[in-house]
Structure formats: structure tokens, C-alpha cells
Amino acid sequence: MDIRVQGLTKYYGDFLAVDHISFEVHQGEIFGFLGPNGAGKTTTQRMLTTLLEPTEGRIVINGHDLARDPYPIKRQMGLVPEESNVYTELTAWDNLMFTARLYRVPRSERAARARELLETFDLWKKRDVKVENYSKGMRRRLSIAMAIIHRPTLLFLDEPTPGLDAQSTRTIRGLIRQLNDAGTTVFLTTHQIEEANQLCDRVAIINHGQIAAIDTPERLKQAFRRVQSVEVALDPPVGEGLEALLGATTVVKMGDKWRLYTDDPSTLLFQVMDYARSRELRVVSLSTLGPSLEDVFLEITGQQVGAVRRTDEQAGKRRGRRMKR
């Protein structure tokens, strides 16, 4: 299924939550929708899933105008909202059966599909336990199972993994890939940048209700070469004075390491070595890093790296540099 969004806008009273955004999601891709809190991610997803009426704009999914005829789209759509909306008074089995009936899964297939999903998500042994006794991770897994029991060709996931343990996160990410391999188009709303980096074919970054960037993760990183960095670990781990190095635009302490953002990593490497020698510090590790998707995100949304948007002139004057701890 493909999605075409044109001029989508949402006002809550006078507050403009989504501001005339347009984008396309291609059939069979995993499309990441990134943005800081309050950027308009969930509002957009709720409009795409018919839960919220747009103020303006058009959503066409697989050729169907969602405002005119949502029924055929709804049948093919799966939705995993941010909060696991499972019925806690029912068992996992009953939750799945209810959803299967809701999506008109043929009676002969319901039990087999439910069993398959419960086994995949490691819930089979607790299928007859009421969900009120489940952990957060188990509820999340059940919520996803309920969203895919009818084998949707378009799956919306809103923050599927935050708060989950590593194993559950890996299971869910693996399943998203597996569904995508089987042809499901996935619309992934997240603020977990690394998740989007690992999973998505393309990402859109929304900020203040507007699409700030949209491309493949790698092309976005290429476009932000200026947020390359040098990462150094020193022994003893002191870093006073690193911010004074000419080539560094921003210096951020990351655990026992320091990350120095730069647009010229080769020059900065020598400066860091000189810095260590002059203070008789041992260099435990030293590496250059390309911009991560997180760097791109922060640059675009102006949250961290972007807080030091050094222009060429500013770079000359060494202004806007700051030390972050």
C-alpha cells in the first residue's frame, strides 16, 4: 500500500499542530516519521489512521481518498498506538480472538494465527492469564500481535519499543523487518533515532508541525557532513581546554569520552593529539565519526548539535562554541 499526503493540516483551536505537510510513502517501504515531542508526529499518524479529522489536506491510500471511503483501507490497516491499548480484563487469547473477529479474519484461521503470534511473541504459555497480570513488555508485544493478526498490508507503529528490554526490542524490530519482507508497508513514528536508522528505508523529520527533511537515512547523513566528529578517550579522563581547539565547533562529554564536532576532522585529529601530548595524557581511543542520524535529527530540530549552528563567518570568529557536560 502506498500513501500520498497533500497539504495535511491540523489546528486544535488556534494552535497549529500540523502545518500543510506533504509526503509520500511508497509501497513496501519502512517509512520513519521522526520528530521531537510535540512536533506533530502522533497527530499526523492519527489523521492517517482516521482517528482524527484533518483541518485541511488530503490523504490518499492505495488510490482511496481516506475522507471519502475509509472502509477498504481500514480493513488492510494495522495500528499499534503509543500506549498498549489491550483489554486488561481479558486474556491474551481473548484479546486476539476479539481483534480477529473485528477484522473479519476467517473463523477457520483465527486460532492458528493467534497461536502463531503468541508463540512468536513468547506469550503462548500465558495465553490464558488475564492481561492485567502482564508486564509492560508483554502488553506491548500483545498489542503488536493484535495489530497484525489480520495480516495488514499497511502497519502504523507509534513508538513501538520505548521502555522495553533489549530482547523484546530485538523481537519487535525483527518482526517489523519480517512483515516488511512479506510486503507490508510500515509507517513508523518514533523519536528513537537509532531505531529509525536501523529499520527505515526513508525517514521524514517533522519539527514544529512541518516536514524539515525527508530522505533515506544515509543521504540525510551525507547532507549533514558538517556534523562529523572526533571522539577521544583520555587517561586520566580530563577534558578541560578541549573546547578551545580551533577545529571543534561543539564539545560534548559522553561517558568517559569526549565528542568534538567539526567540519574538518583531519585537522582536528592532529589538534587533539597535540592537546594530549601537551598535557601528558594517554590517548585510550581516538576515532572519527560521520554524522549519525541522531546528529542530523538534532541539527534539524535545533536540539543539541544544532544549538551551535556555526555559519562560516561564525566559524572564523570561533563564536557559538560551547562546552556541554
Binding site: Y12, T49, E53, Y71, L79, D94, F98, T99, R104
Partner: protein, 254 residues
Amino acid sequence: MKDGWARRLGDEIAQALNVTLKDMRVYYLRPGMIMFGFLMPFFMFFSFSVRREMAAAQGVARLLALTTFFTAAAAGPFIVPLERRLGTYDRLLAAPMSLLTLLLGKTAVGALFAIGVSLFALLVGVTVFGVYIAQPELLVAGLLLGSCSFSALGLIFGSIPVRNPGDVQMPSTLLRWGLLFISGVFIPLAEMSPAARLLAYLSPLTYAQDLMNHAVLGVGLLNRWLDIVVLLVSGMLFLLPSIWLHHHSRKLGY
């Protein structure tokens, strides 16, 4: 094309039933439903009937009107805001069924609860007090139509875009109490002043009580067909504000 519509209709009926059965399992034993749906009509009945001279049959007719009314109207204001708060209502709104199907499914939840509680009251009336039902067919009509109509009335409050049942319980209870006192339940229609009777005619509960009087006592003040038509039409009309409120909620994001 015809097959498509028939299949769609079959799907919608099955989905409404699915919603109803799920709600019955999830909510019937919740304290809010037991308090407002089961205990409240009995409290009301005993509060206004004890130490008053009343035949058993008259008491049963009154109690049946109370249980269909109070119990049926209790479900909507409790269930829908609670589901909104828990996020489970989104699951229903995003599902491939029409809004009307969802509302009919929810209406049936309150209606079936009311019918169950009314049958319990009836059983006690018949077995303990030996009450004779004069016209059983009218009893069936009264229970079905009254329960559906009042459940749809309660659903109007449930459709108000809030996420806390407490926010709509108060206004819905106020309305129910108001209707109760103008509707000839505690003061028979025949004993009302002309002005009060005029007010009573505006309340669907008046017609439910009159139909119960026909069914249990064998006599009512109004024509039985008028009672039936008013309950049927009011039940359908009560769905309209719910549909409008749901469209409004969709604009607000509830």
C-alpha cells in the same frame, strides 16, 4: 454489487455483536456498572416505595420501568469515557466498521444489561410476590424498546469528548433524576396536574412506565401503540446526537 452489500451488512452485524459481547465480558462486573446499573434502581425503588400503600403488581411495574431506565442509561457514560482513557476506544474507531455499527453495539451493551436486571426484578416479583403479568407480549416490547431507547440516551453522554467517566456521570445522573421525577413513575400520570402531565409527555420514560403498566397491571393511561412508537422513535433519535458528538470528537482528537 448486491453480494458486496450483503457481505458488508453481515460483517457490520457480526462486528456490532462482537463489540457487545466483549463489553459484556469486560464491563458488566465492574464496580461502576454494578453501582450505577444494578444497585441504583433498587435503591431508588425502595427509597420511594417503602411504607407507601402499593399493590405488588404496581410495585413490579414501577420497578421494571426503573430498571430498564436506570440500568440501560448507566452503561454508555461509564464505558465509553473509560475506553477513551485507556486507549481501547481507538481500537474500535480504527476498525473496519461504521460508526453506526459501533454505536449499535454499545447500545446493545446497556440494553442487555438492563434486560437482565429487569428479568431479575421480574423473577422476584413473580415468584416471591406472586405477581401476574397481564400482557406478556407488551412486557417483552417494553423491556426491549425501553432498554434500547434508554441505552441510546446514556450513550449520548458517553459520546461527549472526555476521558474520565466521572466527567459525564454527574450530568447524566442529573438528567436521569430529572426525568424520573417528571415521568409518572412515582406520581401516576392520572394524579398529575395538567401542566405536570404536559411535561411528563416530553419524557420517554413516561411511555415506558405506561407500557409496563399495560403489561403488568393490564391498564395504562395512554394508548399502548403510542408507547411503543414513542420508545422506538426516541431510541433511533437518541443515536443522532451520539453520531454528531463522535464526529465532533474526531475533530478534537478524542
